[in-house]
């Protein structure tokens, strides 16, 4: 009957649609003669258009695969040659002259030289507005190709962190000629992701996978594996299971799997796990310009009142490292021997007592002149780690009689609060290499930043700001060391920062994967030396 | 007489055991359906008429009905047949037409589909032959344009038309027995008359024996050859139609006749009291409580149909002369 026919047709349509799924996964192109060594990793987001000069949605690790920088950032802030063999800086610190390598080719076979390097710089400088966050770009006046392999960068002012910042993954890396659009403006997009790096993109299915093959023209050490397959897996638990199944060879990076999963992998003994050295500092900024935290004594008491190690053990499974200073001693200019504020609840209480904050019997919190020792703690409600830490800290500080109002807000409102300074405690994180310490320190001068707001109540704030400006312009290494010593020690003594932990980078891999190493820059995934046995 | 008995029901009991006891819906009735003749089964609502019809064909809905007795058709006892055997009889040997015909049809299927599936369950005919058969019987029931009608859906037809379709479906397979359960109850009077005339004519043509169940005395009077009066699951009187109407014997029958609305009287004469509960029916006189003519021996009377006259049977203590007097002996 009619109905039967209709039902049949519907079923057929369904069947067709269902089967329409097959065939979307195609095997990698390339020679099928020898067995390939393929390393499979994963990432939660699509790699993006792979434009070297732009940001989201481009993923940094992928940009790093394809594009090289002029120089590389090494341990302890050392700057090493990369595409630039050597360089010299003029005495006034405003002209940097780079001698480029002569044996570098792009993945399409075209040559890398000062002309194409200049073209890349110009493409970035044309869109200064977009790169305003990076002081390096603000300070570059213009770029010249002084010879075929000589590149000159002219600065408006001396800017000592220039070399460190030139090692960044973006925006100052180099695209081959064929990748530029007609008008040379990469802000609209690139025609093809052609770089000088060890890998090139050979296959791509948006939001499913991206396959990188060895760049046949690469000037550096030949990568040991033939291909890197990046599978896009948004969920961390799925990633962990995929790794266990053997679908993934390596998990590299922080935030890719939960710390719980990581600790399970570590404890199982079936896999290799690695934890890097300190990457960035997780801290609380304490507002010296508002409420009870105006008092130095209160801020110092807070420093002594927090048991950081227990926080790290419970929230971070002991994977992060306790931080006693704003920057870890490995960060340039930060090995100052500053005296840590050790955890001592008794000491905290007595400091508060002496300052007049008393806790009468039967009351939970301290008071002074009728005012409750009450602090507003602002955090981003979407961030689970911040939430967990805030709640834990609330409990800790209650023990010394401090009342914490937890204010968990949506990102926009949270950022608004930072700008206006309507907080007593707020989370912050340093940027890591190669930005530490200069980028965070530089931003302390900007009123729209939480750091400025937190420091605004310090009597020597103006002096600090002046010294920060000086250090960025200074051309003398010793002078810089003295200035940083002043800045960082003062901030430490004033207790405006409560450093909690140093975040770390993580890696988990199967036993047949070798030579996995961390890079000082948090977002790089160095795979050139990684091998599969 | 060359009239054959097509369905012979003897001592049919239908009861439902429950927690409080056994509910006796049908308590030992016997009747015979003769070829070409109409047996009218009359009684008030709840007296067990519908249950009788359903239980004969094994169509009782709820679980737990206990059916006992004998209902012979073509030498077989309906009440002991297996599911497949009784399925073959339903619709083919014994057809039924129901009250509320509109709800009896599947609203999603055409008339033709109803016909064809009925025919197809019993006979091996091609679709074309089936359609022809359907068309023929629709014409017999007085419906015009049968081919158009076949393509229509039940909700598109009026009550009268649907009832005729039901009759057509019932008779198309030329059953020996047609059970008509309140066939005209949901119809208005003019249509009622038409349907009954149709039925009478078809009865002649197809020579089916009809069991006509109704609570409407007018319908019974018009159609039946013989009438059985039912009360509380028992048949209390059975007689040819004129006899029953002219000379009712059982007090219940008399009360029924008296309660017919008369043009002269302004008020309706009802039967006083209420029907007794059917729970744990003990076989005594069901009308005892409400009877105006009861006597002392009625309380010991056991319900039983006794022949009063040629073809006139009655189950009342008054006419149970020979028996029961024995009970009167002081123990």
């Amino acid at each position: 009957m009619k109905t039967k026919k209709l039902l049949l047709i519907s079923v057929l349509i369904l069947a067709v649609v269902v089967s329409g799924c097959g065939g979307s996964r195609s095997t990698a192109t390339g020679d099928k003669t020898e067995p390939k060594k393929v390393l499979t990793i994963s990432w939660p987001l699509d790699v993006g258009p792979l434009n070297p000069h732009l940001y989201r949605p481009n993923q940094m690790f992928a940009q790093d695969f394809i594009y090289d920088s002029l120089v590389e950032y090494g341990e302890g802030g050392a700057v090493n040659p990369h595409l630039a063999e050597s360089w010299s800086i003029s005495p006034d610190g405003k002209i940097y002259t780079f001698t480029l390598r002569q044996d570098v080719y792009f993945s399409d076979g075209s040559k890398f030289n000062a002309q194409i390097a200049k073209k890349n710089f110009d493409a970035v400088l044309v869109n200064r507005e977009r790169h305003k966050w990076l002081e390096l770009v603000n300070q570059i006046d213009k770029v010249n190709a002084a010879g075929q392999y000589t590149l000159e960068i002219i600065f408006k002012n001396p800017y000592y962190p220039a070399l460190q910042e030139l090692s960044l993954i973006r925006p100052l890396r180099f695209l081959g000629e064929a990748g530029f659009p007609e008008d040379g403006n990469t802000a609209e997009g690139v025609k093809a992701p052609i770089g000088t790096g060890p890998w090139m993109l050979s296959e791509y299915k948006q939001n499913e996978y991206a396959i990188f093959s060895r760049n046949p023209y690469y000037w550096g050490r030949r990568p040991k594996v033939d291909q890197v397959v990046v599978k896009i897996i948004p969920d961390g638990e799925t990633r962990a299971i995929a790794f266990e199944r053997g679908d993934l060879d390596l998990i590299f990076g922080s935030g890719l799997i939960s710390l719980h999963s990581f600790s399970q992998f570590r404890d199982s003994g079936k896999y290799q796990t690695m934890i890097s050295g300190p990457v960035a500092t997780r801290f609380l900024a304490i507002n010296s310009n508002r409420g009870p935290t105006r008092e130095h004594a209160v801020r110092v008491a807070l420093q002594h009142g927090v048991n950081k190690q227990s926080l790290i053990d419970s929230i971070f499974y002991g994977i992060e490292v306790k931080a006693d200073t704003l920057f870890s001693p490995q960060v340039p200019y930060s090995d100052l021997g500053l005296q840590p504020y050790e955890y001592d609840a008794g000491k905290a209480k007595s400091i508060l007592e002496s300052a007049g904050w008393v806790q009468t019997a039967g009351q939970e919190f301290r008071q002074k002149n009728g005012q409750l020792l009450e602090l507003d703690f602002s955090f981003d409600i979407a961030d689970d780690v911040q939430k967990a830490l805030a709640e834990a800290l609330q409990g800790e500080l209650k023990k010394i009689g401090v009342k914490i109002n937890l204010i968990g807000e949506e990102r926009q409102s949270y950022q608004q609060r930072q700008k206006e300074g309507t907080f007593n405690l707020i989370f912050g994180e340093t940027w890591g290499a190669p930005y530490d310490p200069h980028s965070l320190v530089s931003s302390m001068r900007v009123p729209a930043h939480a750091d400025y707001q937190a420091q605004a109540g310090l009597p020597m704030k103006a002096a600090i700001d002046a010294k920060i400006t000086e250090v960025l312009l200074s051309t003398d290494e010793r002078e810089r060391q003295e200035l940083y010593r002043y800045i960082l020690s003062t901030l430490h003594e004033q207790a405006v920062y409560l450093p909690i932990s140093y975040s770390t980078n993580l890696a988990v891999f199967h036993n047949n994967i070798t030579e996995v190493l961390f890079d000082p820059q948090k977002f790089r995934i160095p795979l050139v030396d990684v091998d599969i046995k | 007489m060359n009239e054959q008995v097509v369905l012979d029901v003897k001592d049919l009991h239908v009861s439902l055991p429950s927690m409080r006891g056994v509910v006796g819906a049908v308590n030992g009735i016997s009747m015979q359906i003769t070829e070409g003749k109409v047996l009218g089964l009359v009684g008030e609502s709840g007296c067990g008429k519908s249950i009788t019809c359903l239980s004969l064909l094994g169509l009782t809905k709820e679980e737990g009905w206990v059916i006992a007795g004998v209902a012979k058709i073509q030498g077989k006892n309906l009440l002991t047949l297996g599911p497949e055997e009784i399925r073959k009889i339903r619709g083919k040997e014994i057809a039924i037409i129901m009250q509320n015909p509109l709800t009896a049809f599947n609203p999603l299927m055409t008339i033709e589909q109803h016909f064809l599936e009925t025919i197809g369950s019993h006979l091996l005919l091609s679709k074309k032959e089936g359609r022809n058969l359907a068309g023929r019987y629709l014409e017999y029931t007085g419906l015009s344009q049968p081919s158009k009608l076949l393509k229509q859906y039940p909700f598109q037809l009026s009550g009268g038309m649907i009832q005729r379709v039901m009759i057509a479906i019932a008779l198309a397979l030329e059953p020996k027995v047609l059970i008509a359960d309140e066939p005209t109850t949901s119809l208005d009077v003019t249509v009622q008359r038409q349907i009954l005339c149709q039925l009478a004519r078809l009865k002649e043509k197809v020579r089916t024996g009809i069991l006509l169940v109704s609570h409407d005395l007018g319908v019974i009077a018009q159609m039946a050859d013989e009438v059985a009066v039912m009360y509380c699951g028992c048949i209390v009187e059975r007689a040819p139609v004129e006899r029953l109407f002219n000379q009712p014997l059982h007090p219940y029958t008399k009360a029924l006749m008296a309660s017919k609305p008369k043009m002269q009287k302004k008020t309706l004469q009802a039967i006083g009291g209420q029907a007794p509960s059917l729970l744990n029916f003990d076989g005594g006189c069901p009308f005892f409580e409400r009877c105006h003519e009861k006597s002392c021996c009625c309380s010991h009377y056991k319900q039983e149909l006794v022949q009063y006259d040629d073809k006139h049977w009655v189950g009342c203590a008054k006419f149970a002369v020979k028996q029961r007097m024995l009970y009167y002996e002081p123990a």
């Binding site: 069947a15 799924c21 097959g22 979307s24 499913e208 199944r245 679908d247 | 599936e117 009925t118």
Partner: protein, 312 residues
């Protein structure tokens, strides 16, 4: 029938216009300036000058009704603008991700049908037997299982421990099994019960008694009389469920790394990518309306009372 369909399609037009108006208005009710959001997402500092430039570009300074008509005009030409984040045309992106979601939804629906029809029918026919009781318990469990929990249980058992199926991704038919099953089980539980109730209602109907009285075989009665009638409310409900599945079963798509619309829209919502959110809202509303229409048409096909207009 044709007339019925035509009538229903024409009645869609005011509905779609209403939806477009609602979508347009809702986006403009958001307190944040879309120009500012755009700049932030492009990592350009949202200074007042930059915001003014972008506002002019986006036509945000025109009167509201003018903006609506401009937008509507573009929408009719299927131009939903460009994503703030990827700068690609939104329509193209939606169309890129939609087939995967359609695929998943269709497979889930098939599984729902395969489970709920037999189980629902037999639960009704064998009412109150052990089979019926067990199915009832399973249905309650199935309806209460949260999909993220269920997805991981299935992955853990079938993919990790037994290694029968892949854990994530899209590719072969095997990749489709786990996500489609996760999506289907909750719905299947509900539909099993729905069908059972519907069947029981129909089994009690007079026309079933009449069908038996005419001597029809029991199997024929169940399939042709009872099941067909019982399916009508189920079909109507399916329209809604399919709509939900198409809206992007976000959790399933995230866990199984299924490249569908659900994942895409969630990240767009987090990013406040307004062109995408707007296009998606409109797109999904249209899909729902069309699915409803489709369900209505199927019901009209099955039930003549609907398409021929009730009693005479």
């Amino acid at each position: 029938m044709g007339r019925f369909v035509a009538r229903r399609i024409i009645s869609l037009v005011p509905v779609l216009l209403g939806i477009s108006l609602l979508t347009f208005v809702l986006i403009h009710l958001v307190p944040v300036d879309p120009a500012e959001v755009y700049l932030r997402l492009s990592q350009i500092p949202p200074t007042d000058e930059a915001v003014a430039v972008i506002r002019a570009e986006m036509g945000l300074n025109k009167p509201l009704h003018q903006q609506y008509f401009d937008w509507l005009w573009k929408v009719v030409h299927l131009d939903f603008g460009k994503s703030f984040v990827t700068k690609k045309p939104v329509m193209a992106e939606l169309l890129y991700y939609f087939p995967a979601t359609l695929n998943l939804a269709a497979a889930s629906l098939l599984i729902v049908l395969l489970i709920s029809i037999p189980v629902g029918v037999f639960s009704a026919l064998y009412k109150d037997t052990a089979f019926d009781q067990i199915c009832r318990i399973l249905a309650f469990i199935g309806a209460s299982m949260p999909s993220f929990w269920l997805s991981f249980v299935l992955i853990y058992i079938l993919s990790l421990e037994l290694n029968l199926l892949p854990a994530f991704g899209r590719g072969t038919l095997a990749h489709l099994v786990l996500p489609a099953t996760t999506l289907a089980l909750g719905a299947a539980a509900v539909y099993t019960r729905l069908l059972r109730t519907s069947m029981l209602e129909n089994l009690n109907q007079n026309f079933v008694l009449y069908a038996r009285a005419r001597g029809l075989k029991e199997k024929l009665i169940v399939v042709r009389h009872v099941l067909k009638n019982a399916l009508i409310p189920v079909v109507i409900a399916f329209g809604m469920t399919l709509g939900h599945m198409l809206a992007g079963s976000v959790i399933v798509e995230n866990v199984f790394a299924w490249p569908g619309v659900g994942r895409y829209i969630v990240s767009s919502i987090f990013n406040r990518d307004y062109p995408v959110i707007q296009a998606y809202a409109l797109f999904m509303a249209v899909v729902f309306v069309l699915l409803n229409l489709f369900a209505d048409i199927i019901c009209a096909t099955l039930d003549p009372r609907i398409r021929l207009g009730g009693d005479k």
